[in-house]
Symmetry: C2
């Protein structure tokens, strides 16, 4: 009789984590994925590279939960002790797994290198455990049922290896409690704050509601999460989530851009591709961040032609054809609606595209311009964004972004994309002017 | 006789954390600040809003550590249970603190509002505990010495309230072990794998060593961390860390680029700024990622002039002046050493800078070119990077990056910067050809 995975614990390993040198993002990701699969996480623990502590913690968590997900400590070096700790928690010796060894050797072979001796330890596993192939790195994962009956999965620490191994090897082996159904949906928005969204959602966010609606904000994108959890049929759960998601969508209109992916760029690329339209960029303070965001979308070459990084004033004139008088003493200056417009219009012409986005602003920490005479000051976070579209009036918007250099650049790039997103359906003026 | 704070534990409270809806950044921040103060964190734990679990965990951690820092659960609502849990761990009742109550009332008063009744519970504390004023929110903190002698500080969860309360009320009451000194240093490298670094470091990584050396990899950057922890004078500890750091630096030469910041871009910008040289970029598959990485460095405008995003073939010719014959049927094609060179040389000319980096490659998932006749295939991850420098021969390197689209683009941008970093000291051929 196999035990269900009602409650999970997440154990992260590494001195760099306990000492605060590295931010732990694995635990959040794992808890989120487990919940989507119907398994509730009851504890996250982070401990150092210490085999005694690792073995004792593993045993303690196996007593409290039905499933323990461990990440980290599977590398080839002397401070990678998860294999030994799992063996100790199982009261077993480590043995070499021949298939795992062949896989580690093949990983190096595919890169034209021989496996260094040091990596041989990565093929060790406790006698009862199963090795899990790692397609994205050298460290195999491990699976074992511990004394007492809880299941443990040990996964590599780097997210690029851990995420795909979790999807491929852990998800199919999860056994959520029968009858308990968890269904979720998400509506991603940009250009509206979390508290305004909370006011618009009203009683939909009540703590006792099922489906329950919660919001989280990351990088300026507010994601409204809908979660049903209870005893119901699949169909009932899906219908309940659908009904509430519909209400959320109406409440946050027109700022919702996706229900599958928090990338504004992806939503814009998909729409332009469907319309057969092309896109170019002219960037000053974002210095390539907007182009990078667009080309991070696989298949963006169908839409994105290229761009001009006009970081210096000279490049604004030389590459985008901005009138030097606008940039000269006494003119409006590089951070102005006139220069944003000239960049976008110049880019549309020189790049030969259907849409061109231009961004000029002050990302900080330096660069703020004090008031001079009757001229308004230009504070850090002041950003002008222009959207030129073939055959349309060029739209220019002023924003005041709050936050550090990184956030100001990130939000500027997303606000630019959102100007395209909103342009057919709603006036760009609906975008909140103040972000942060 | 007062007990020293040799070891600390960090306890975070909240369903939104255990379920993975919110990323926990408090624990990392606290561990980092504690280490700076000479207190080593041995465990981080995150648990739900459940008073029984909170009280039991607090007692367990008080047995393992000399100091427990709790964050979260001090709000005014029904799911804020840290006050009750602390009382239970102290075996005491909650009493109302009149000064704390006056402070909560004053906080509302300063905003022109009356205190809602619901906030009155925030002035409760276990009889033995001390309330800590919160200047940035309504929730007072709590301090108590638990049965057994460990000290506990309970702080509010929002970072904007927690950070200043920690600085004002916790730091002055820390009692690190007299004579116990913790000193750390880090050497950041790029272009060499973690296992090769481990082989080069050899016995320096022995687990018993003090200073202890460990490595962590993130985004292709391998960071070698040196940590001394022991009874010594400040000067002895600094000398020990310096001596070992020197050996680490020699071992990983020439791939070390910084001992303060894991950004290759920052190291390159600082060196070029010191030399009074300027930098431009011509990007194809990275689509702006390299420019964004450079301009993420505050003050990069001293060095970075701008760039050309030549995502389509047409833009390679139009913007960077690449000979169309190179891109036409029968030519070497967009992903080739000849085109990388033409992009870099064209960029150097058109942007008028001292250094120009050009990147062309296949980031995937699509775009791979099969072998045709006697022409080699072009797989996903094949990337050519060229570094043109005024008055020097243009250097071109082929790379085979492994990983997903995001990693290939990230590593390509860093490898390009590393080509500049290595160019005066070592031949660019020392950069590992295969990354991932």
């Amino acid at each position: 009789m196999t035990r269900h995975h009602r409650r999970a614990a997440i154990l992260s390993i590494g001195d760099e984590l306990t000492l605060g040198q590295t931010l732990n993002t694995n635990s959040k990701w794992l808890a989120e994925r487990l919940l989507e699969a119907g398994v509730v996480t009851i504890e996250h623990v982070t401990i150092p590279d210490d085999v005694d502590v690792q073995a004792a913690t593993l045993s303690r968590l196996a007593g409290a939960a039905d499933l323990v997900i461990v990440s980290g400590g599977l590398g080839p070096t002397a401070d990678d002790l998860t294999r030994a700790a799992l063996a100790r928690a199982c009261n077993e010796a480590l043995v070499e797994d021949h298939i795992a060894l062949a896989q580690v050797e093949a990983w190096f072979g595919s890169r034209g290198r021989e496996m260094p001796d040091i990596n041989r330890v990565q093929a060790l596993r406790p006698a009862r455990a199963t090795s899990i192939q790692n397609l994205h790195g050298t460290a195999p994962g491990l699976f074992a049922t511990l004394p007492g009956g809880a299941d443990a999965f040990c996964l590599p620490g780097p997210p690029g290896e851990m995420f795909p191994m979790f999807e491929a090897a852990v998800v199919p082996r999860l056994r959520p409690v029968k009858g308990l159904v968890v269904k979720t949906a998400t509506v991603h928005c940009f250009g509206i704050g979390e508290s305004e969204i909370a006011m618009r959602l009203g009683t939909l966010m009540d703590r006792g509601a099922n489906p329950l609606v919660g919001t989280t904000a990351s990088g300026g994108v507010v994601s409204c999460r809908v979660r049903f959890e209870g005893e119901a049929t699949e169909a009932e759960a899906i219908a309940a989530v659908k009904r509430v998601t519909e209400r959320v969508r109406e409440s946050v209109s027109p700022f919702a851009f996706s229900e599958s992916d928090p990338s504004v760029a992806k939503a814009v690329v998909q729409r332009l591709a469907a319309n057969g339209q092309s896109l170019g960029v002219v960037e000053s303070c974002t210095g390539g961040r907007l182009g990078a965001m667009i080309t991070d979308v696989a298949g963006s070459s169908k839409v994105f032609v290229g761009g001009l990084l006009t970081y210096s004033n000279e490049m604004k004139t030389r590459l985008a054809g901005v009138d030097p008088a606008l940039l000269a003493e006494g003119g409006p200056g590089a951070v102005s609606p006139a220069v944003a417009r000239a960049m976008a219009v110049g880019g549309l012409e020189r790049l030969g595209c259907d849409h061109c986005l231009a961004i000029t602003g002050i990302a900080g920490p330096g660069g703020a311009v004090p008031a001079v005479g009757d001229r308004a000051p230009k504070p850090v976070g002041l950003v002008y964004i222009a959207h030129a579209e073939r055959g349309e009036e060029c739209r220019v918007r002023a924003f005041k972004m709050f936050g550090d250099r990184h956030s100001i650049r990130e939000w500027s790039a997303k606000a630019a994309l959102m100007m395209i997103w909103l342009s057919p359906a709603a006036p760009a003026t609906m975008l909140r002017e103040i972000i942060g």
